[in-house]
Structure formats: C-alpha cells, structure tokens
Symmetry: C2
Subunit: 241 residues, 2 copies
C-alpha cells in the first residue's frame, strides 16, 4: 500500500464510487421531496413517478456494491482504506432504505387519495419530511467534506424529528377516537409518519459514518433519543423502534 501508484489508483476508484453515492443521495432527496408533495397535493401521478424512480435508486446501490467489491478485490486496501470502502457500502445501504420509505409514502398516497382527507395531517408530515430531507443533505455534505461538526449537528436534529412524530402519533389517536370514519386513513398516515421518523434514523446512521470517517471513531452516544417523551405522554404511549 506504500506504492504511490497503487494509492493513487485506489483514491481515484474511491472518488468515482463517491460520485455514485452522491448521485444516489440526490435521487433519494428528490424522492422524499416529491413523495411528501404528492401526499399533500393528492397527486397520484407524482406518487407514481416516485414509485417508479425507486428502481434507479436500487440499481445505484447494486452498482456501488459491485464497484466496492471490485475495489476490494483489485486494490486490496488495508486498514483505513478498507474501512472507508465498508463505510461507503453502509451509507449506500442507508440511502436505499430511505428510498424504500419514500416509495412506500407514495404507495400510501395513492390509497389515501381515495379517502376523505384528515385535516392538517399531510402538512405536518410534509414539514417532518422537509426536515429529514435537509438533514440528509447535510449528512451527505458532512460525509464528503469529512466534517464531524456538521455530522454531529445532524445527529442532534433527529431528536426534533422524533418529537414531531410523537406529536403526530397523539394527534392521530385523537382523530380516530373522535370519528371512527377517520380510522383507516389515520392508520395509513400513522405508518407514513413512522416511516419518515425511520428515515431520520437512517440519516443519523449516515451522520454516524461521517463522524467516523472524519475522526476515526464512532460517536460516543450511539444515537441521541428522546425516550422519556416517547414512553409516557398524556396516557398515549408509543414505543420507539
């Protein structure tokens, strides 16, 4: 690994893979944006576009994994370089999951568009999605620039997403109790909210990897979580995933 020619070749390979990761990240950000927009505006065509678009995201993950495997086989990197390649694969895996959640939001949008709207719900989900999308953008920036501070900031913003989710959970329960005709729609909305909250967890995991690449160590507190608030609030208990 001390041969400068080999080292350079590895860096070049890694940069090419990193470009694919950023492309994948861009598509996932778009899927979140368009998924939550389609939910809000009951736009079935846009939802269908998000669903179809997930294939490209999945293909990019496959491509990244294949390229990483090739780099491992050909360059046989050691120590730090090896870890970096494994980290890239992990980030691609997180992005693929987030894309799946966005696709799922789009699927449920198509179902929900045939039901009576639940007041305020889709706006609240859209706000949550916007926050997660902006966290994702920052997490990927932190990863590319090896910026531990920005990554830590993202990790802490996930707390807010968790709190938004908890507020929505209580709201949906109230809607359902008030009027049983809201039940089916609220079940779908609740799943969407939960999936956005899970997107936030995967963004946090990307931020963890960014911290690791920048500092050589995983963050101390595995994942800041506002567990107390989650468990006992006004008689409505929600268990954190």
């Amino acid at each position: 690994m001390n041969d400068p020619h080999i080292a350079k070749a590895f860096d070049r390979d890694l940069e090419a893979i990193q470009a694919q990761v950023m492309k994948m990240g861009g598509l996932v950000e778009e899927a979140i944006r368009e998924g939550s927009k389609s939910l809000k505006s009951r736009d079935v065509e846009l939802a269908e576009k998000v669903r179809r678009g997930d294939r490209q995201i999945d293909e990019l993950e496959d491509l990244i994994n294949t390229q990483c495997a090739q780099v491992l086989a050909i360059r046989q990197p050691a120590a730090t370089d090896l870890r970096t390649v494994l980290t890239v694969m992990k980030i691609a895996g997180n992005l693929e999951r987030i894309g799946d959640y966005a696709k799922n939001m789009a699927k449920r949008t198509e179902v929900l568009s045939q039901m009576q709207p639940v007041e305020g719900a889709s706006s609240a989900i859209r706000r949550m999605s916007k926050e997660v999308g902006s966290m994702l953008s920052d997490a990927l920036d932190a990863y590319v620039r090896r910026d531990a501070e920005l990554a830590e900031d993202v990790r802490h913003r996930d707390l807010e997403v968790d709190q938004m989710y908890n507020a929505l959970f209580r709201e949906f329960l109230t809607f359902m109790m008030e009027d049983p005709r809201n039940i089916t729609a609220c079940m779908h909305l609740h799943f969407i909210a939960k999936n956005v909250e899970r997107m936030g967890d995967h963004v946090t995991s990307i931020a963890d990897q960014a911290v690791y690449l920048a500092t050589g160590e995983m963050p101390d507190d595995p994942r800041p979580k506002d567990n107390k608030a989650i468990y006992r609030v006004e008689g409505f208990e929600e268990a954190d995933e």
Copy 2:
C-alpha cells in the same frame, strides 16, 4: 489465492465467522420466540429479558463485521471468496434487524400489558411469529448447507406470512371501528404485526443470500409478493412496504 496454505487459512477464518453467525441466529430465534411469548402471556419480565438480550445480538454483529474486515485485510480474498465474506456481512445485518423488531415487540408488550387485552390478537401474532422463527431456522440451515432448494422453500413461505399480516390488518381495523377504546391497543398490535411481517422480509433476504451462495446467482423473482391481495381487500387497503 492458489497457494493452498492461504486458501486453507481463509476457509478456517470463514468457518469461525460462520459459527458466530449461527450463534447470532440462535439468539435471534430465541428473541422472536420469547418476544411473542411475552406478548401472549403479558409477561413483562420476559419482555424485559428480550430487550436486554438485544445488546448481545448487536455486539455479535459488530464482532462479525470486525472479523470480516480483518479477513478482507489479511487474506485479501478475490472473486467468490470475497463475495462470500460480503454475503456473511449482509446476513449479519439482516439478523440484527430481525433482533431489533423482536426487541420492539417486547417494548410494546410492556405498554400493552397495561391495557385491556384485544381478544385473539396476541395468539394470531404468536402464530405469525412462530412461522417466521421456523423460516429463519430453515434459512440459516440452507445458508450453512448451501441448500438452494430449502432456501427457495423459505422464500415462498414468506407469502403466507404476508397473508397472515393482511388478515390481521383487517381484523384490527374492525376492532377499532367497533369500539374506540380498542384504538390505542390496536395501534400497538398493528405495529407488532407489521414488524413480524418485516422480519419475514429479512428472513427472505437471508434465503436470497443462501440461494446466491449455493448457485452463484440471485433468485430470479426478486421477492415473491402477493401484492394484489394486499392492495384491495374488502375496502380495506394496506400498502406493502
């Protein structure tokens, strides 16, 4: 890689890692079994044991990933051997997720034990969990024995789990509509059912890897899914993840 001494060392390393994967699999099977048992019998102590036990599962995944990284660094395997190592990491990742879902079932058990029971629900979830546990056991056997036929069998059994989930989804909606006092409990039960269905998806993914290791190719049909049944059943629509 043609040096028999190196090849043997790689095989030895891989066997040691595989033993850790099987240990992890055993713990995850136990977590599913005990998690669903605690739900059925409203056994908060057992649920607490499952929650605590998840740490060991997470630690095993870390250990497996570290050992895989060491094997990659030291043995620098090429082609098939490299793919095998990456597959092992993927299976460990699936097991960790299944363990998380079992932990979550245990968390919700603690919450549900304070509410009025919903008739028949926990028995139905336990049946689903049993099926998933037995699929997991077979998927791991298929992986160790490189048995593509058994792995294909597991993949198709996941359809039944999806159908069980869909039946439960409709049942919970009915319970909630009949009596609003059931709403909070049914929301938690529904999440548990959904998580068991997701466990099935991760077991299917392990079976996919087993097929790949046995045949050198991923299964043709990415994941058999009974989508039609999921989308439109008696006016209750549920979107598949």
